[in-house]
Amino acid sequence: MSNFPFLSVLTVAPLVGALVVALLPRRRPELAKQVAFVWSLLVLVLSVLMWITFKVGGDRFQFRESYPWIPNWGVHFTFAADGIALVMLMLIAVLVPLVILASWHDAESSKRSVPIYFALLLVLECTMIGVFAAADVFLFYVFFEVMLVPMYFLIGSYGGHQRQYAAVKFFLYSLVGGLFMLAAVIGLWVVGGKTFDWQALSQVDISTGTERWLFLGFFVAFAIKAPFFPFHTWLPDAGGAAPAGAAALLVGVLDKVGTFGILRYCLPLFPDAAKWFAPWALALALIGIIYAALLAVGQNDLKRLVSYTSIAHFGFIGVGIFAFTTQAGTGAVLYMVNHGLATGLLFLVVGMLIARRGSALISDFGGAGKLVPVLAGVLFFAGLASLALPGTAPFISEFLVLIGAFTVNKPVAVIATLGIILAAAYVLWMVQRTTQGTLNPALTEVDGMRRDLNLREKVVVAPLIALIVLLGFYPKPVTDVINPAVQATMDDIGRTDPAPSVGTVQEASK
């Protein structure tokens, strides 16, 4: 089984599914939904098989495949996954079917074609899997850019208020970052002796000046994607305008490409520049944590609020990456997964709430828990997970990041801790204003608010809740996969952990 070309099949399969769904007649929307859902389940099954096949403690990169593509430039279709990529692939495979299920009726409110909506979701899945599975810098870049197109149409065609503006802003921001990266990719190709192979490039010695410019080219692209302060302004617009399902994927997975890219490309390929820029990156991450949290407190639009909380969480991930300890790095990767689950859940639940009320404004709610108790409960749970309550999965990752950072840089860890307090403020206040307190009389007149979660919605939220609790108590299966990959990344940049922290890593992961 280990010889099965998992990664290429996983990349191509959703694309085939998208073609099938797109070709279904427009008059049969139900059929399109069912086909898309079943197809994404097949991808999930395949991913689970891949997870089982992955040898923990084996080679750093597994499932390597390579086929020539453009020999003139040394471009190959090279796929390979390390532990970091593996967990992200798994996250995608879990989230997409749930998002499809959650978006069952989303496309109907617009006048656009329903099958196309689900086809676009599958195309998005293809590009997301490709971007994490690529081990050829050119191939990575191709997926990185193409990923914009389906997302652009998802936001622009099926989004809510101000969708055009948000879609264009999203596309232009990402494209600008992508073009900076293109310059750096070409530069890397030239200094690397005209190859795009990741492993060959990671062995190349680059002069200090060049290395810093190339690092910047990649870093800007990833910082826009992630997004880090001050490149974040597109996310609240895009997240606010996107349909809830697409927003869950946007924040849950798409943005992780940024942090993943930093771990996979910026650090191992330009280790010295990464160390040189680390203080700046840490500063940006810290500003992001505090600034975005403050903005989140002040939001009156639910989806924008969740978007801002994500920016704050990406600050934590940034701290974890640039602290350069295995602990913090493992925490950062684990955070990427947990954040995908927790914020994905939060976005989906918020989407259900908005679909019922017909408004995303917090001030239009109030006491909703009396009408839809189960939904309110799930929202409360998602909020608690998002503020990293102990017992939920994000707590472990946030804790790892903080203690990992604390061992090497105490001020950073202390400032970052402030973010936890602010997180409690924005989540609890949001929950209070929407679902608790006296009932807003206007709510009782809205038909939708009388329906609590139906079976389909329960099926959507149940796996996410289960995973968040499970990984909150027993993260070992995931950390076991992540740890060696992060260790290898730290070796690439030549950082060894301070002596006492080695013991704590093992303890934390037990």
């Binding site: 593509w69 453009i70 020999p71 003139n72 430039w73 870049y141 191709v142 850019e145 193409v146 914009l148 197109v149 149409f153 622009g156 065609s157 969708r163 055009q164 879609a167 264009v168 596309f171 232009l172 494209l175 600008v176 073009l179 900076f180 293109l182 310059a183 070409i186 530069g187 190709w189 030239v190």
Partner: protein
């Protein structure tokens, strides 16, 4: 009395050129002797057959690397590659020119001599069949372009320049509708083009003077003589630099590079759209083919001197094209500015003096030609009662009315924006890579920055088509005839194939990237 020594002529190597010019002459006879109602079919078939025959000869000559007709014509890798490119693109353009289903009687005026906007003019715009002189004119232009990229001395190059320019001036004036705009465009193009030709000719004279100074060698304007003179002529370098600058002005004018671009938007807008497509694709190939040969063969020794100047021109061209494209409200003008910006990217490739740079530039030329012809093919289809609806506001909601053609156009726009899996991305890589390898990082950075700016106008059109609601004035897309459909599909498929699997054409370009000197 000395006997006149005739140069040996390799007719097989010259066959593509001879076929096209011969077909043009036959075309004139057809005009005279074939009954009016049959001419369209005969002329179109003749022109297409000639292109096909010339293309066959180019393929058969593929291994030629020689100078013929004295040293006037060089048949080498770049010549053959670019001739092949011109012929393929010209065939597509001919398909667009020959279309008569989309608009009754075709895109061309029936009697160019009738006063524009008069009663007769309106009558002929309604129903009369378009003039068939466009075919010999186009064929002449193609023939001239084939010589232009093969010319190995400056005089031959000048003659070729005139042979392909004069028919183009005329073609621009022959639009069926909005004739005043079309005639204005033609006049503008002719006046400015004549200036540019004069600059070119003056440059030739100065270069001739420069080569005359070398003892023991006769003066001349063939590239080998110039190249030798650049390295060791005792004449003043001022002659060389002035001559080079004047030559460059003539060539950059045709290539639509800033600051010699001002004619481009007006001419692209006024000319009949199939002719605009022909100019945007084929003229660009021809102009850059000549630029490559002049600067890589004749003036190779002076590359330290011309690189900074041409570099500034390249940056300026990219900037002007990108920034002004943002403000356009007419699709043809937008594509014109985009074509100016693309001339800038091509100049980046010209300034990478390596085999990779040469092959990358040639690849870019052909790939861009396919996309731009497909783009103009779509423009010919979006129309209302008054002809083409080129104002951007009229394209609002087109995606809802005609999703198929809007999707094709979106794909082409994404290619122009350089999104991967389209030829727009691979061709940008093909020129930026070698430029960076040759240490032209500043040009690449300028290219990347302007690409960001340029993405915005493209995206605006996409937004218009898909995300805006259709208004009352949104035209529908005319059902294209077989000819336009064929051209459009060839263009779109080529854009996709060259983006996904560029290796075969790159191989071809790499194998061809060597000038004979």
């Amino acid at each position: 009395m000395t006997e006149l020594k005739l140069p040996s002529i390799d007719y097989a190597a010259l066959a593509p050129i001879l076929i096209m010019l011969g077909a043009a002459l036959v075309g004139i006879l057809v005009e005279a002797f074939v009954p009016r109602h049959r001419r369209h079919l005969v002329q179109l078939s003749l022109a297409l057959l000639a292109v096909l025959a010339a293309l066959t000869m180019v393929v058969l000559n593929a291994d030629d690397r020689l100078l013929t007709a004295g040293t006037a014509i060089a048949v080498d890798g770049p010549t053959l590659f670019l001739q092949g490119g011109i012929l393929v693109l010209a065939a597509m353009a001919l398909l667009l020119i020959g279309e008569r289903v989309v608009e009754r009687g075709g895109a061309f005026v029936a009697h160019a001599a009738i006063t524009a906007e008069s009663v007769e003019d309106r009558r002929q715009a309604e129903s009369a069949n378009g003039a068939t002189e466009v075919y010999p004119l186009t064929t002449f232009a193609i023939g001239g372009m084939l010589i232009f990229v093969a010319a190995n001395d400056l005089l031959t190059m000048f003659i070729a320049l005139e042979v392909f320019s004069l028919p183009l001036y005329l073609l621009c004036a022959l639009a069926r509708r909005r004739r005043l705009l079309s005639q204005e465009a033609a006049l503008k193009y002719f006046m400015l083009g004549a200036y540019a030709s004069a600059f070119f000719l003056f440059g030739v004279a100065l270069i001739y003077g420069f080569t005359a100074g070398t003892p023991g060698r006769s003066a001349g304007v063939d590239f080998a003589t110039i190249n030798a003179a650049v390295s060791d002529s005792p004449s003043s370098r001022v002659l060389l630099f002035a001559g080079m600058a004047l030559l460059a002005i003539g060539l950059l004018f045709k290539a639509a590079a800033a600051p010699f671009h001002v004619w481009t938007p007006d001419v692209y807008q006024g000319a009949p759209t199939p002719v605009t497509g022909f100019m945007a694709a084929c003229t660009k190939v021809a102009a850059f083919g000549a630029l490559l040969r002049v600067f890589h063969v004749a003036f190779a020794g002076a590359s330290w001197d011309f690189t900074p100047v041409l570099g500034v021109v390249a940056v300026l061209t990219m900037l002007v094209g990108a920034v002004l494209a943002v403000t356009q409200t007419d699709i043809k003008r937008l594509l014109a500015y985009s074509s100016i910006a693309n001339a800038g990217y091509l100049l980046v490739g010209v300034l990478a003096p390596s085999k990779d740079g040469l092959s990358g530039t040639m690849f870019y030329l052909v790939a861009y030609g396919f996309s731009v012809l497909a783009a103009f093919a779509v423009v010919t289809l979006v129309r209302d009662g008054d002809g083409e609806a080129t104002h951007l506001s009229r394209w609002a909601g087109l995606g809802r009315r005609s999703p198929f053609y809007a999707s094709l156009f979106t794909f082409i726009l994404l290619a122009f924006a350089g999104i991967p899996l389209t030829s727009g991305f691979t061709s940008k890589f093909a020129v930026f890579g070698p430029a960076l390898a040759e240490g032209r990082a500043w040009l690449v950075v300028a290219g990347v920055l302007t690409s960001m700016v340029l993405a915005f106008p493209y995206l605006r059109v996409v937004v218009m088509m898909w995300l805006s609601e259709p208004g009352d004035s949104t035209p529908t897309v005319a059902v294209p005839g077989g000819l336009t459909s064929a051209a459009l599909m060839i263009g779109v498929v080529a854009t996709l194939v060259l983006g996904v699997a560029p290796a075969p054409l790159l191989d071809l370009a790499t194998g061809a990237a060597e000038f004979v000197r």
